[in-house]
Amino acid sequence: MRDIAIVSFVQSDCVRDAGALNEVELIMPVIRKVLDNVGIQSAQDVDFTCSGSCDYLQGAAFAFVLGVDALGAVPPIKESHVEMDAAWALYEAVLKIRMGQADSALLYGFGKSSPGELPIVLSQQLDPYYLSPLWLDTVSSAALQARALLDSGKATEADMAEVVARSRKNAKSNPHAQLKGDVSVDELLAEPTYLSPLRKHDCCPISDGASAMIIATVEKAKEWGKPYAVLKGIDHRIESHHFGARDLTRSVSTEIAAKAAGVADGPVEVAEIYAPFSHQEIILKKALGLGDDTVINPSGGVLAGNQMMASGLSRVGEVANRIIKGEIKRGVAHATSGHALQQNLVAVLEGA
């Protein structure tokens, strides 16, 4: 099977409200930069383009169509779109390259969550007959999961606060982060609960922004003459939609994906985990089979800034950039979708 090189990754700053910038204006700068990094001019210089976005964030059917404007798709391009995080757009492009229909691909994800009330908007992801009429929002379902985790004795509130403190600290070195700083576990635990047992800081912020990536066959990356990280394994799995039918303290779909992607085939120096809520990092760390020698979310993760529909791709990009810079040799990236970690993707990246 053809090895795949991640050649370039760019993300915009995570901001709470991008103001008057529309989606095209969020996408265009990251597309420009990611193309410049590779030394190519336009979307016509790659064989395939795929994006991830969500109509409901924009409040319009066919929101992604505007993305094609941002690409300047004249002459026409080979292009596709997933109504998912762009990490799954990466997956679609991997299939295209592996089947030999493309040697290179441009991927991007974007979301402008600020105009709506994101947790309420996402309540409409649930079963339309039994769950969504209850307007159960994403923070509430995460709180149910956190409570189950605490009750199981697998984690404490202090463990959750530790995740947040580390995220804020790591984010200090991430120029794109929205929330950063030095804060102690004790200070965090002194905060009031928001939706018990979650405190506000246990929840990711709401961010506007976009990210983009260019991948290629290893041969093509060499032709471009750019350093790259190798995508050694990638897999994604989903599990039941019904909370009551799942053990919320585990992420079974992540466990299966981690095995299929080959996480355990070597040491994991860094893991970028898409955990929008602090307790989920604890669940996912276990599901990925990571030990204490793995540095988790050196970027601060999504607790430092969560660009909907782009954050998953950005986790892969964060690991890729560290490999490209020579900081690490092997890392793992994770993306999630849906309430309480229903759907998960795992990627394993290595140096060339």
Partner: protein, 387 residues
Amino acid sequence: MAELAAVVGIGQTKYQTKHKTVSIAGLVRDAALKALQDAELTWDDIDAVIVGKAPDMFEGMIMPELYLTDALGCNGKPMLRVHTAGSVGGSTAIVAASYVQSGMFKRILTVTYEKQSESNAMWALSNAQPFSVHLNAGAGGFFAPIIREYMRRTKAPSDAGIKVAVKDRLHGARNPLAHLQLPNITMKEVEESPMLWEPLRFLESCPSSDGACAMVIANEELAAQSPKKPAWIRGAAMRSEPTMYAGREEVSPQAGIDCAKDVYAQAGISNPRKDLDCAEVYVPFSWYEPMWLENLGFAEKGEGWKLTLEGATSLDDKGDIPWNCSGGVLCSNPIGASGMIRFAEAARQVRGDAGNHQVDGAKLALGHAYGGGAQFYAMWVVGSEKA
């Protein structure tokens, strides 16, 4: 380099205005189960599920695949959701095939649907957007001026559109799954139906349907063992261009021309009218048949309407290149599934399994879908033989 893949199972629901007695999950499961039965398989035989549908606002659910995973036997498996506007049914089939063609999976299930009766597509398509021109015209209003430009350029007589409306409904009357059943439709009846968007009349427009379409796609080894004849995927292509740009050719968009060239090259087709036995082409408004006949290279520029009027595309007129034998989008339009229905009906033809709308001895067929402002294209060619 791509692994060979083939359609080994097809399942469709009945297409109708409202499926009142099933949930959305029930609707997609019905199509999926029929596809599994057609392939004589069970849920355990499926490695991944690829779902497609048109905008989430059509039913008012965000990423409905998350909720559909239980109904589609997908727990613990990969699930992907494609959305590429009206072409999505075709794009989904192509993405689903790539799971197998990449060599990463052996056999997958792909399902597309729309349950338009749950909401209002015209509303969903007409939301005002900040910083954008508000068209508020729906699909018919968007395409009517483009059709008028086609008529101006080609001097096509106004009954070419009427002929398509009648022809596809007569085809649909042969297909028990088709939504509109109008076996006695006449040219006069179409002509006298209300004018909606000049020159498109009510009966020249597609209906709004509920329905789902599913396919099982398998690799070469498993397809060879399948109980019914496989439809081998001989080529697949997608193209996109922006909705508007200076100098855009809207009557015969470049993306459609490029996409057709690509898929024909993969399938070894030099003369589509001669080499193909039939085609299922996305024609939601009557005049898009002559327009696509030209865009897809079945007719010379300006001559598409002549093929239509000569009956070349009609099964009843014993035309040499029947288009939309199933009745097409003009008979059934569950938007998210409409593209996949074209792809699946092309496969039914080369499997020799198209019932009363079968083209005798069909060996090579085209499935086509388009979407957005006629800017997104997905096409595949399927054959009764591997090459």
